[in-house]
C-alpha cells in the first residue's frame, strides 16, 4: 500500500517510587548474601590452603603421608590426602550401590502398591527419617549396626574372599569402609527415595492406561512406562544422595577407623574420610597443619559442590520435562 512509516519501539521502564527502590535494594543486598558467603568460604579456604598447594603441588592429592612434622626443619611436614579422598569416595559409592535399588523399590512401593490412605503416613515416616541427626545415626551405627555388620563382613570374607575387594590383611572387621558405607546408605536413602518417588508419581497416566489396555500386568506397565520415564530423576536423586554421603562427618567418624594408607579392601578395619580427618586432627593442629586441613576442606568442598550442582540440574530438568 502506501509508504510505511518507520516504527521505532519505545523502551518502557518501570517507574518506581523511592520506597520501592530502597526496598529492592535492601532485598538485593540480602539476596546476595549466599553468593557472598559461598564466595568467602571458597576464597578463604583457597587463600589459606594455597600455601599447602604451593608447597606440595599435586602430591597433596596423590600422596598418602600425613605427618605434621616437628615444626622445625629437622622433620618436615608432609601432607597428602589420597587415602582420605579415596576413602570418602569408596564409602560413598558403597552407600550408593546399596541405597539406590532400595530407593527404587520403596519409591515404586509408595507410588504404585500402597493404598492411598496409607501413603501419607509412610511418606511422613520417610521425611522423619531424613530428619534424624547424624550423631544419632552414628551412635546407633556403632552400637547396634556394627555388631551385626561385623558378622556379615565375616561371611562375605569367608564366601567371597577370592574377590580382591573382600580380602582382609587381618581378621578384624570392626569400623570398616563397608560398615560406614552401610550406615551412609541408610542415611541417604530418604532423600534418594523422595526424589525417585516424586518422579515416579509423574509418569504419564495415559501411557500406563495404554499398557493396561493391551493386557499388561502391573510389573509390565511399570517396566514399560514408569521406569524409563523416571531414569533421569533417579540419577538426580542418586547424585543428591551421593552429595550428602560425601560430606557426612560424625556418623562416619564413629564407625570408621582412619588409617593413612589407601585401602580398597572394604571389609578391613582401615579407611579414610576427609571430613573425619578434619574433625580428628583440628584440635591439636599446628598452624601449618591447620592450613593443610583447610586445603583438604577445600578439596572436599569442591567435590561435593560439583556433585550437588550436577544433581540439581538433572533433577530440575526432569521436573521441567514432566
Amino acid at each position: 500500500m502506501g509508504v510505511e512509516a518507520e516504527v521505532t519501539p519505545r523502551r518502557l521502564t518501570v517507574g518506581r517510587t523511592r520506597s520501592d527502590k530502597v526496598f529492592r535494594g535492601v532485598m538485593s543486598l540480602g539476596g546476595f548474601t549466599s553468593l557472598v558467603v559461598l564466595g568467602l568460604i571458597a576464597a578463604f579456604l583457597l587463600f589459606r590452603g594455597f600455601e599447602i598447594f604451593r608447597d606440595f603441588g599435586l602430591s597433596f592429592i596423590t600422596s598418602s603421608m600425613w605427618d605434621a612434622g616437628s615444626g622445625d626443619a629437622t622433620a618436615p611436614a608432609r601432607f597428602g590426602v589420597a587415602p582420605m579422598l579415596v576413602g570418602t569416595i569408596v564409602t560413598s559409592l558403597i552407600a550408593l550401590v546399596v541405597a539406590v535399588p532400595f530407593a527404587v523399590g520403596v519409591a515404586l512401593f509408595f507410588e504404585y502398591y500402597v493404598p492411598p490412605f496409607m501413603k501419607n503416613v509412610f511418606v511422613s515416616m520417610l521425611d522423619l527419617m531424613a530428619a534424624v541427626p547424624s550423631v544419632v545415626y552414628g551412635i546407633w551405627g556403632y552400637s547396634v549396626l556394627m555388631p551385626h555388620a561385623v558378622g556379615w563382613s565375616k561371611s562375605l570374607n569367608h564366601w567371597f574372599g577370592w574377590f580382591p575387594l573382600f580380602r582382609v590383611p587381618a581378621p578384624i572387621f570392626e569400623r570398616s569402609p563397608f560398615i560406614a558405607g552401610l550406615l551412609l546408605a541408610l542415611m541417604i536413602l530418604p532423600i534418594t527415595t523422595s526424589v525417585a518417588r516424586e518422579v515416579y508419581s509423574q509418569a504419564p497416566r495415559d501411557q500406563i492406561d495404554a499398557t493396561y489396555g493391551l493386557g499388561a500386568t502391573k510389573w509390565g506397565a511399570i517396566r514399560t512406562v514408569v521406569l524409563p520415564f523416571g531414569k533421569g530423576g533417579l540419577v538426580g536423586g542418586a547424585m543428591l544422595g551421593l552429595g550428602r554421603a560425601l560430606g557426612e562427618t560424625i556418623a562416619v567418624y564413629l564407625v570408621l577407623n582412619l588409617v593413612f594408607k589407601v585401602n580398597l579392601q572394604v571389609l578391613a578395619s582401615a579407611g579414610g574420610n576427609v571430613a573425619s580427618l578434619i574433625a580428628t586432627r583440628f584440635g591439636e593442629a599446628s598452624p601449618y597443619e591447620l592450613k593443610a586441613l583447610m586445603a583438604a576442606g577445600l578439596v572436599l568442598f569442591m567435590l561435593t559442590l560439583v556433585v550437588n550442582m550436577v544433581a540439581s540440574t538433572i533433577v530440575a530438568r526432569s521436573r521441567r520435562s514432566s
Binding site: D209, A210, L214, G215, T217, T224, P228
Partner: protein
C-alpha cells in the same frame, strides 16, 4: 495356559466377539454414575455410544474391559458377558480380558521410548505372546490400521515422530496386533484434525468387517458415518441410563423415544 500363540490364518473368519451387558451399574465412591444398562453388541458392526457429556458413556466403555476398577473407590454391579462368560466372575484374570478386548484412547499415546515397529508389537512383549513371524504381524496390523504405506520406510523412527492422526492409527495398529475380538474406542478422533479424522473413520469402518467395535462419540455426524448401530445414553441429574438402542438410521431417522429425538435433532447436548 496364558502364553498363547496367535493363529495368523484366522483374520478373515468372523471371530467370536460376543459381548453383552446385563443390568450393569457403575459407582465412583458414593456417586452413582451409571444405572441398569443392558445392551447386546451386534457382531461385525460398529456400535456407537452417543449422548451428552457426563452421562456415563466412557465409564460404561471402561467397564467392558475392566479398566473401570483402576479408579480408586470405584464399584460396579451387574454382568458383562464376553462369549457367554461374566468377565467379573471371581477367578477371572483381568489381564486376559484386556488382551482379548482391546482399547484405543482419546488422546493418542504411543510409547515415546519405542520406535514405530516396537510400538505396534509392544502388546506382544507385554503379554509374552509368541508369534511365528513378527514382520508379517507388523505389516498386517499397520495395514489394517491404514498406516502401512505411510510408515513402511521408517519403521525404526520413534513412535512420537508421527503426526496426531498417524499416532492414533499407530495406537490402533498396536491394539490390533493383539488380535482382539472386540475393539473399544473412546472418542478416538476428538483430538485429531478433520483430515486425520476421516482417515481414522475409514479405518474403523473397514475393521468392523472382522471385529465387534464399540465407539464412544460426541459427534453425531461421526456416528451416522461410522456406526451401523447406536446406543443413546442420558442422565437426568442422576445416574446415566440407556434410553434407546437400535440401527443408526432408526435412531436418527425415526427414534422411538422423544428424548432421543430431542438429542439427535440438536435440541440439547
Amino acid at each position: 495356559m496364558t502364553d498363547t500363540v496367535i493363529d495368523q490364518t484366522t483374520i478373515n473368519v468372523a471371530p467370536e466377539g460376543g459381548l453383552e451387558t446385563k443390568a450393569v451399574h457403575a459407582w465412583f465412591g458414593d456417586h452413582h454414575a451409571l444405572a441398569d444398562v443392558s445392551l447386546h453388541f451386534p457382531r461385525n458392526s460398529v456400535t456407537g455410544l452417543i449422548g451428552p457429556s457426563g452421562c456415563g458413556k466412557s465409564t460404561f466403555l471402561r467397564l467392558l474391559n475392566r479398566m473401570h476398577e483402576f479408579i480408586p473407590k470405584s464399584a460396579m454391579a451387574g454382568e458383562v458377558l464376553f462369549n457367554g462368560d461374566d468377565i467379573y466372575a471371581p477367578g477371572v484374570n483381568p489381564t486376559d480380558v484386556r488382551r482379548r478386548i482391546g482399547m484405543v484412547f482419546q488422546k493418542p499415546n504411543p510409547f515415546p521410548s519405542m520406535s514405530i515397529a516396537e510400538n505396534v508389537l509392544a502388546g506382544l512383549k507385554l503379554a509374552r505372546v509368541k508369534v511365528e513371524d513378527k514382520n508379517v504381524l507388523l505389516e498386517e496390523s499397520l495395514t489394517r490400521a491404514g498406516l502401512w504405506k505411510e510408515v513402511r520406510d521408517r519403521l525404526k523412527a520413534p513412535g512420537a515422530s508421527l503426526s496426531g492422526g498417524q499416532q492414533q492409527r499407530l495406537c490402533i495398529a498396536r491394539a490390533l496386533a493383539m488380535k482382539p475380538e472386540v475393539l473399544l474406542l473412546d472418542e478416538p478422533c476428538s483430538a485429531l484434525d478433520p483430515i486425520s479424522t476421516i482417515r481414522v473413520e475409514e479405518t474403523i469402518v473397514e475393521l468392523a468387517e472382522t471385529m465387534t467395535i464399540v465407539m464412544v462419540t460426541h459427534n453425531m455426524q461421526q456416528a451416522t458415518r461410522v456406526s451401523r448401530h447406536c446406543a443413546f445414553f442420558l442422565s437426568n441429574g442422576g445416574p446415566g441410563r440407556l434410553v434407546e438402542a437400535d440401527l443408526t438410521e432408526k435412531i436418527f431417522g425415526n427414534p422411538r423415544d422423544s428424548r432421543t429425538a430431542d438429542y439427535v435433532q440438536g435440541r440439547f447436548g
